[in-house]
Amino acid sequence: MIEIDHVSQIFRTSGRQAHLALSDISLTIEDGAFVSILGPSGCGKSTLLYIVGGFVSPTEGVARVKGRAITGPGPDRGPVFQEFALFPWKTVLGNVMYGPRQQGVKAAEADAQSRRLIEMVGLKGFENFYPKELSGGMKQRVALARTLAYHPAVLLMDEPFGALDAHTRTRLQNDLLNIWERDRKTVLFVTHSVDEAVFLSDKVVVMTRAPGRIKQIVDIELPRPRRRAELLLDPRYQKYVVEIERMIDDTSEDGLRP
C-alpha cells in the first residue's frame, strides 16, 4: 500500500519566487491497483510520482510504502520514464541485466532471467543491439523489461508512452495490460491522455492545474481483461471518458480565472 499524506511541494525558481507545484495531496493506493494520475501539463503529476520514487523529497507531508516513510529510491519501486533513460553504453541485454546484477543475482542466472524478460516484451533477437539501434517503442519495451527485471512491487510510469506514435502507443498499452494481468503489480501511471487512463486503470486521479490538487478520484468499473476494440464500443467506457474530459475542461478554466 502506498500512502501519500498531506504532501506539498514548493520549488524555488531563479527569481527567488516560490512555485507551489503540489498542494496538500493525500492519496492511498491499494496493493495490486492500477492507478492513473491525470492532469494538464504543469500540474505536478510527475513530481508526485518522483516523490513516491524517492527521487524528490516533499517540502511538506510524507509518503509511505508499506507503512514506512520513503527516504530514497529503492528496488521495491521501479520507474519507467518517457525519455526511456536506457544506458547507451550497454546492450539491450546489458540494460535488462543491470538490476538483477545490482541485486547480487549470479551472472548466468541474471542472463537467463533477462533473456526471458526480453522475450516477454517481444524483443527476442535484439539482445545484443544497442539502444540507439532501436525505435522509440522498442526502447520503451527495453526500459520496461529493465525495470521488471529487479521485481519491483510498484511500477512508477511517468508518461511512458507520451513520446510514441499512436499505433505504437496502442500496442504498448495492450502489452502492458497483458503483463500486468499476469502478476498484478501496483502501478502508478502518469499521463495526460484521458483514453489511456480510462483504458488502463482501476482508478483515475484527476488533478487541477498548478498548484496541483486532487480534483476528483474516479473508479473505473470496467471488466478485465480489457480488449480495446470491445471497450471503444462500450457505453460505460465512453461515459467515463466524457465525464473525465469535462472535469479537465473545468480545471483548465479554473486556471484561467484571474
Binding site: A85, F87, P88, Q102, Q103, Y130
Partner: protein, 255 residues
C-alpha cells in the same frame, strides 16, 4: 558510415595535402626558393625514408614518443580524476574552479624555464610541460561531460539498487566518456605540439632537438625531416585514438 563513404572521405581528405605538396614542389622547381633553403619534397621524403632505418633517428623518435605518452597519460589521469571529482563534489568544485580559471589561460611554456631549473634538462621537465598543457582541455571536457549526465539515468540506476557512492563509476563516468574522449583528442594534439616545442627550446635529443640542430648548421633537408615526422606521428596517434573512440562509443548516438 559505410566503407564506400569512408573511402571517398579519405580520398577527399588527401586532395588538400597533395595540393600543398604540389605547391611546395612548384616553389622549388620554378626556382622561387633556392634548393639549399627549401629542398623539394622528394628530397625530404627520401631523406626521411633513409633516416627511418638508422638507429640514431629511431632513438630521437623514441625519446619524443616517450615524453609525449608520459605527459599525455598523466594529463588524462589527472584531468579525468579532477574533472569527475569537481563535477560530483561541490567542495572540490569550489576549490578547483578558481585554480583552473587562473591556470588555464596561462601559457604553460612560460613555466618551462622554471621547470628546467627544478627538474633538469632530462625527460621530467618536458613530460611535466606536456602534462600541464594537455591537462586543461581534458579536465574541462570531463567536468562538463560529468555535469551534464541525464538525471533520469542516475535515478534509473539508483532505483535498480545502485548505492549513491557507486553512481560515479557505474553511471557518471560511462555517460561522460564521449565528452572525455573529445577532450583527450584536443589534449593529444596539444601534447604533440608541446613536446616538440620543449625539445626545441632545450634538449639533447628528440625530434625538436634535431630540427634546431639542423637549422643551426643550415641543413635544410634535415630540418624538414623531423617536421614531417611529428605530423605523421600526430596523424597515426589520432587514428589510434579515433579507433579507441569508435570502440568505446559503439553504443552512443553519432556525435
Amino acid at each position: 558510415m559505410n566503407a564506400r563513404a569512408l573511402t571517398s572521405e579519405v580520398l577527399l581528405g588527401i586532395i588538400p595535402i597533395a595540393l600543398a605538396v604540389a605547391l611546395w614542389q612548384a616553389i622549388s622547381s620554378f626556382g622561387y626558393a633556392p634548393v639549399t633553403l627549401l629542398p623539394p619534397p622528394g628530397l625530404v621524403f627520401s631523406r626521411l625514408a633513409q633516416q627511418l632505418g638508422t638507429s640514431n633517428f629511431q632513438h630521437e623518435i623514441a625519446s619524443t614518443l616517450f615524453r609525449l605518452f608520459a605527459g599525455f597519460s598523466i594529463a588524462v589521469i589527472l584531468g579525468v580524476g579532477i574533472g569527475l571529482a569537481a563535477a560530483t563534489n561541490p567542495v572540490v568544485n569550489a576549490v578547483v574552479r578558481p585554480i583552473v580559471r587562473v591556470l588555464a589561460p596561462l601559457p604553460k611554456v612560460a613555466l618551462y624555464p622554471a621547470l628546467l631549473l627544478l627538474l633538469g634538462f632530462g625527460h621530467e621537465s618536458k613530460i611535466t610541460l606536456v602534462a600541464a598543457d594537455a591537462l586543461f582541455p581534458i579536465l574541462l571536457s570531463t567536468y562538463y561531460g560529468a555535469s551534464m549526465v541525464e538525471q533520469k539515468l542516475i535515478w534509473s540506476a539508483m532505483a535498480a539498487g545502485t548505492p549513491r557512492r557507486q553512481i560515479l563509476f557505474k553511471v557518471v563516468l560511462p555517460a561522460a566518456v564521449p565528452s572525455i574522449l573529445t577532450g583527450c583528442r584536443i589534449g593529444l594534439v596539444i601534447s604533440c605540439i608541446v613536446v616538440f616545442l620543449a625539445e626545441m627550446i632545450s634538449s639533447t635529443d628528440g625530434l625538436g632537438h634535431m630540427l634546431v640542430t639542423a637549422a643551426r648548421t643550415f641543413q635544410a633537408v634535415d630540418m624538414f625531416v623531423p617536421l614531417i615526422t611529428i605530423s605523421l606521428l600526430g596523424l597515426i596517434l589520432n587514428g589510434l585514438l579515433q579507433g579507441l573512440r569508435s570502440y568505446l562509443l559503439r553504443g552512443f548516438p553519432e556525435v
